[in-house]
Subunit: 214 residues, 2 copies
DNA sequence: CGCCTCCCCCATCATATGATGGAATCATCG
DNA sequence: CGATGATTCCATCATATGATGGGGGAGGCG
């Protein structure tokens, strides 16, 4: 059976899809409790009852947004994986950082929603989870931190989380950080990439070289 | 004139202080919109009207919490600065990471509130800001990334933000990340420190050595 | 004691917000 | 066209939440 979410993703012009897109943005900016169905409806230019007609209650819409984000992020990770396959570690990481950063800056609500979910509770438990563990394991394998996605050590997971979160932080914190730096958006993005590559790559490359010596 | 906040900080047993402490926790967990005055009052074991009696409207209480957090964080940074003064860079960073991580794990609402403020909007503008720019500049100077706190380059600021945020992320994301790893709390904290030191230090040390060669 | 001030709670209000029912509109198809 | 179903909006409800007024009590002080 086709879910509402699948239907919405097929036709981006449909009302379902337009509501979903607006919900991604608004939930991403204000979080679950900070966003109101009225804000989302107004953003689309429709009545709230239309929103309820298509997506049911607020929590259902929110969970659909999370699923949607998950799909997009998972696809991006696959794309990156294919792009960097077979290259040396430093190059793999540099490309991954560049590509993921570009993707996320183009879809900042992805980073926003992920981080807000990490760091903020919601009054009612959602039961629904990000696929963070799977994604993290995949990246760990891709970075050569684990042989098998089933056997990723806690240390490796936390290393991956550090890298991914460092990227998300710059995207999601743009509204706060960019005014601090006084940079234009383009410069901010360039500097973010530069900073991320400068800080994140050397440690892994160094360890990689040491292991190669054995 | 003594502010309500100053009064509350003097006597931690006072009702004012107890409410403030609860507010730090609840706002930290749920964010501004996710937290309700009733939740905070219930946490203290008092009526909401008592809360309003001491702190006025919700937004005022929230801003007091932010000011309170700022003072605590600023003091911690000063403590760390004194502790690491004069040592070589790698050592300075390792100690700073250890000490700040311990402090923040003991007061996770500090990280929570900071990150939620970075990444989530609130419906009404607060006008009140974290002292993030000043703190960031101080750390930049302390890390040798700038001669003067008045002249910190955007690049240096973003490097500092990367480091600070990496720490906050592990504290604030514990509820999400620790179950992923299956670690006990103590092991989680240890692994977080290890990971942070492993990733964050080498890049700066490498660059420091290169500059020393000049 | 009588009065005052400070502090706290009960009852209540006002508004924001999630949600729904039913009418109106539009498209599709026989 | 006329029937049918899908979609949208208007009016309205129910609840959660922020906020307030007034009363009561504890303690200090004449």
């Amino acid at each position: 059976m086709e879910t509402r979410l699948e239907k919405a993703r097929k036709d981006p012009e449909s009302m379902k899809a337009r509501i979903l897109a607006a919900a991604r943005r608004i939930f991403g900016e204000y979080g679950f409790h900070g966003a109101t169905t009225r804000m989302i409806a107004q953003d689309v230019g429709i009545d709230i009852s239309t929103l309820h007609y298509h997506w049911g209650e607020k929590k259902d819409l929110y969970e659909s947004v999370i699923l949607d984000i998950n799909k997009d992020l998972g696809q991006s990770l696959i794309d990156v994986e294919n792009m960097i396959h077979g290259r040396p570690l430093a190059e793999r990481m540099a490309i991954a950082i560049d590509v993921m950063t570009d993707y996320l800056f183009a879809h900042p609500e992805v980073s926003n929603l992920i981080l807000l979910r990490y760091f903020g509770k919601t009054r009612h438990e959602s039961g629904l989870d990000f696929k963070v563990p799977e994604f993290t394991s995949d990246i760990a394998r891709s970075m050569g931190l684990a042989k098998d996605t089933k056997l990723v050590s806690p240390l490796a997971m936390m290393e991956v989380l550090t890298v991914m979160n460092a990227i998300h932080n710059f995207i999601s914190g743009e509204n706060f950080f960019r005014p601090m730096t006084g940079l234009e958006r383009g410069d901010y993005i360039r500097t973010a990439k530069e900073t991320l590559k400068f800080i994140l790559i050397p440690a892994f490359v160094q360890r990689d070289r040491m292991h190669a010596q054995d």
